[in-house]
């Protein structure tokens, strides 16, 4: 929390220093752009009964601009929650999964291909098949790094970064010009065929044609519950945490450390792969070269996990924060007269970077604060 506040504060100074704008009004404009102000729209609204002007006292202003903005924010929050979990789960096992982006890309590629295939299937079945395949693909992709760590001790930071690049360039080949997945009907564009209607996720809020919020959001919320349950209510979670806290004690306790390294990476990758397929099946519907080459969702997941302190609720709010920042500063949502959107995009990145930076400083701040309260570090109180 402190971290985010400090990051915003410094971001504000940057705004002030570089553009001579008022940081408060800029933040206000960004906030309005995120659609989060929808929650404050308690008032009487039209509820859209034809030929009448019926108004109801309720924040159910579905048709408003802020509702649509909020839908966009939550569409981005969805994959951020999942890639955040992907980083956090590995963290709990003492591993740093930087490969969320590659695992996301692999999930997106497999998701789009399975969405194009099996076009005749009933909707739910098709969606489940495509998501399961993407989840598995993400798990296998991260599992490579896990396996290397478990067998020969290759450091997961190195291997996952390498796997990111492999995913990026294999994806570029598959999706790019003359690639095997390129849409044969759109040879002028490096983009895959769109997924079949049966594979698309239902939109439950807003208009499907205007990119409303799809049910993938609930899948992400469900993933948070699963994450919490696995860590706190299963023997697998117990093992993963034991290895993460003290691998030597875990080994002494009869827990196989290599096995947990592999499993933790694979499970992490599963979440990231799922994120890739949800974006495809929820609102992108096809995969194009620029997305493969410029997607950042997996990396922002690292910031989400750090800010969320690897805690389920924390991940949710951190994902909400970063999702909101992305939407709020997008060219579409930020009033150019308040702040230049092309700069605002950079502002997001600055704040993101500061948050990551300050997560480390956070500990320092706490330490200093404690040191000020008590002149010297306290000895452990013994019984």
């Amino acid at each position: 929390m402190l971290t985010a506040v400090i990051a915003f504060f410094i971001g504000g100074l940057v705004i002030l220093a570089t553009t001579k704008k008022n940081p408060l009004s800029t933040y206000r404009a960004i906030f309005d752009g995120t659609g989060l102000n929808w929650f404050f729209h308690v008032g009487s609204h039209k509820i859209g009964i034809p030929f009448t002007d019926t108004r109801v006292w309720f924040p159910w202003d579905t048709a408003s601009r802020s509702a649509m903005d909020l839908q966009q924010t939550l569409i981005i929050v969805t994959p951020l929650i999942l890639t955040g979990i992907a980083v956090a789960f590995a963290f709990r096992c003492g591993l740093f999964n930087i490969g969320g982006n590659g695992q996301y890309t692999v999930g997106a590629i497999v998701g789009v291909q399975f969405g194009v295939w099996f076009a005749g299937l009933p909707g739910p079945v098709h969606v489940i098949i495509a998501m399961a395949a993407a989840t598995l693909a993400g798990a296998l992709w991260a599992g490579i790094a896990g396996l290397l760590k478990a067998t020969v001790g290759a450091h997961e930071v190195i291997t996952t970064i390498m796997l990111n690049w492999i995913a990026l360039w294999v994806g570029s080949y598959l999706v790019g010009f003359n690639g095997p997945m390129q849409d044969p009907r759109a040879l002028s564009a490096p983009v895959t065929r769109p997924v079949a209607q049966s594979a698309r996720l239902d939109v439950f809020w807003g208009f499907p044609t205007l990119q409303g919020l799809h049910i993938g959001f609930f899948i992400a919320l469900g993933a948070l519950v699963v994450y919490w349950l696995v860590l706190n209510r299963t023997t697998l979670g117990y093992e993963v945490k034991a290895v993460g806290f003290n691998a030597e004690a875990a080994r002494y306790g009869g827990i196989s450390v290599p096995r947990n390294y592999f499993l933790a990476m694979a499970i992490s990758g599963a979440f990231a792969g799922l994120a890739g397929s949800i974006d495809i099946l929820g609102w992108e519907f096809n995969l194009d070269l620029t997305v493969v080459q410029s997607v950042q969702i997996g990396f922002i997941g690292i910031a989400v996990a750090l800010l969320g302190r690897n805690n389920a609720l924390g991940i949710f709010f951190a994902a909400l924060l970063f999702g909101a920042l992305l939407t709020g500063t997008s060219t579409r949502n930020l009033d150019p007269s308040v702040f230049k959107p092309e700069l605002a995009g950079n502002l997001t990145q600055i704040i993101q970077g500061l948050v990551v930076l300050f997560v480390g400083v956070d500990l320092l701040v706490l330490y200093v604060w404690r040191a000020l309260r008590r002149p010297f570090p306290r000895r452990r109180v013994e019984s």
Binding site: N232, T234, Y238, K241, N246, A250, Y252, G253, R380, S383
Partner: protein, 510 residues
């Protein structure tokens, strides 16, 4: 000892509160020139707090400190050093990659032109200093390459270099072998003859009696009393420390050994560097007996334990547990076949410090009923079971949901003990089970080990403390350079054991 002089150091009514704890309650303490004054007390009695106040790390809430009769205020270790107080911490504060001389002159280095370190002058000064106090030390050796006893000498020299005349030693023998401790005592003798005064913090009765001129006992933050060396006894001091009668020697019935539960046959083990640390060890431990494995640290005992518990691979030989061949089996299988293992390092291996006590107590059996079923944990059952165990083993300082890191060493060890003994193992391996514990806790651990034996478990006790080996074991094996060199009945003398441990010929296997 010069009694008529006024004390070089006096503490009057020193009081220190920590949240929820009164760490020091109006403590009076004085130190005379040329004496060793021991500060004795259980873990948490307030010894270290008092010394940290003296060294400027804490400020007292009340009370006054006088040095050579003059009231002083010590705000930081720098102040303390300026007033001639030197402290050697339990964990050394040395820089491993630097030489002995560099470590000693650190922060007040002799320089060329104020910039470049004058190595030759530094070496010379350190040599001179070592010569004055008759220390055997090589100023040019790197600290990482010298033994623990030598490192401690470097710490002492560091204090002397800054012209300390009051030396505080915080549990100095905890990390030393008996031989090194003997050498340390000689050094302290030299220092006091030179007129220095030493405050010696310890919870070991025998060494306090050996070295100290006067002994002050603290218990739960209060001073119980100061007694002169003459007339003090282990029993009397133990009673002052703990506040009740303590059994220093464990009472036990004769062993009734049954069938061999643990059989180790010609086992060879490599250490981390790939050198053969265990060179063909054969022994067995039978149901209902305690076998002591004595030896100087680093002679292969740790590797034997790791090989038997499946934590390290054997390069040759067989290990059988309850008749099952477990050579090369996973730690998990060996645990399931009925092994309990109190590891020598409870913080590195015995506990997950960030886990709660309940989670730690389930470390081996979290994946078995009733703790879990089909991979699903039942935290309430784990906590419920933990509550019973914590009570049964008298763990104080926290409940089932307290983090293990919040407990004191003695209570942490009780948690490990509770976990290993409650599994009802056939074979219980206890490696350094009382390292760093105080008298009361040691008594508790010893009694539990005897109980385990009497309930028909085969107990292998690995310890560096001869006294512990002698008082608990029914048979004693001596390991030296990776081989079992002798076997003794429990009535062997400490001298005979000591000779065998250092490679001398002992009585051949009985």
């Amino acid at each position: 000892m010069v009694d008529d002089e006024r004390p070089v150091l006096e503490l009057r009514g020193v009081t220190k509160h920590f949240p929820g704890v009164l760490a020091n309650d109006h403590i009076d303490f004085d130190l005379r020139r040329g004496e060793v004054h021991a500060l004795l007390g259980e873990n948490g009695a307030g010894k270290s707090t008092l010394m940290n106040i003296l060294y400027g790390l804490y400020h007292p809430d009340e009370g006054e400190i006088r040095i050579k009769g003059e009231p002083v205020r010590i705000n930081s270790p720098k102040d303390a050093i300026a007033r001639g107080i030197g402290m050697v911490h339990q964990h050394f504060m040395l820089i491993p990659v630097m030489t002995v001389a560099e470590n000693i002159v650190l922060a007040s280095e002799p320089t060329h032109a104020g910039v470049l370190l004058d190595y030759r002058a530094a070496n010379r000064r350190v040599e001179h200093l070592a010569g004055t106090f008759n220390f055997a030390i090589d100023p040019q050796a790197r600290v990482e390459n010298i033994g623990v006893g030598q490192q401690q000498r470097v710490e002492i020299l560091k204090a002397l270099y800054r012209s300390a005349d009051i030396l505080i030693l915080d549990e100095p023998t905890a990390v030393l072998t008996p031989q090194e401790a003997g050498e340390l005592f000689e050094i302290l003798g030299t220092l006091t003859r030179e007129g220095l005064s030493v405050i010696f913090i310890s919870h070991k009765l025998n060494e306090v009696l050996e070295i100290a001129d006067r002994i002050t006992v603290l218990r739960r933050g209060k001073k119980i009393g100061t007694v002169p060396h003459e007339g003090a006894t282990e029993g009397g001091l133990a009673r002052m420390m703990v506040g009740r009668e303590v059994l220093l020697r464990v009472e036990k019935a004769a062993a009734a050994p049954g069938q061999p539960f643990l059989e180790v046959e010609d086992v060879h083990v490599l250490d981390d560097r790939g050198l053969e640390a265990v060179k063909g060890v054969t022994f067995d431990v039978r149901a209902g007996e305690i076998v002591g494995l004595a030896g100087v640290d680093g002679n292969g005992q740790s590797e034997v334990v790791e090989a038997v518990t499946g934590l390290r691979r054997t390069s040759a030989g067989r290990v059988r547990l309850g008749g099952h061949d477990v050579t090369g089996s996973s730690a998990n299988r060996i645990l399931d076949l009925g092994l309990g293992h109190i590891p020598e390092d409870r913080q590195r291996r015995g506990l997950v410090l960030n886990f709660s006590l309940a989670e730690n107590l389930a470390l081996h059996d979290f994946d078995k009923e009733p703790n879990s079923r089909f991979g699903w944990l039942f935290p309430r059952r784990i906590i419920h079971r933990a509550r019973g165990l914590l009570k049964q083993f008298d763990v104080r300082g926290g409940g089932p949901q307290t983090l293990a890191s919040a407990l004191s060493g003695g209570n942490q060890q009780k948690v490990v003990l509770a976990r290993e003994i409650a599994r009802d193992p056939r074979v219980l391996i206890a490696a350094q089970p009382t390292r760093g514990l105080d008298v009361g806790a040691i008594e508790f651990v010893h009694q539990r080990l005897i109980e385990a034996r009497d309930s028909g478990e085969a107990v292998l006790l690995v310890s560096l403390e001869l006294e512990e080996i002698l008082s608990l074991s029914d048979r004693i094996l001596v390991i030296y350079e990776g081989r079992i060199v002798a076997e003794y009945p429990p009535d062997v003398t400490e001298e005979e054991l000591g000779i065998a441990m250092t490679g001398g010929r002992g009585r051949e296997a009985a």
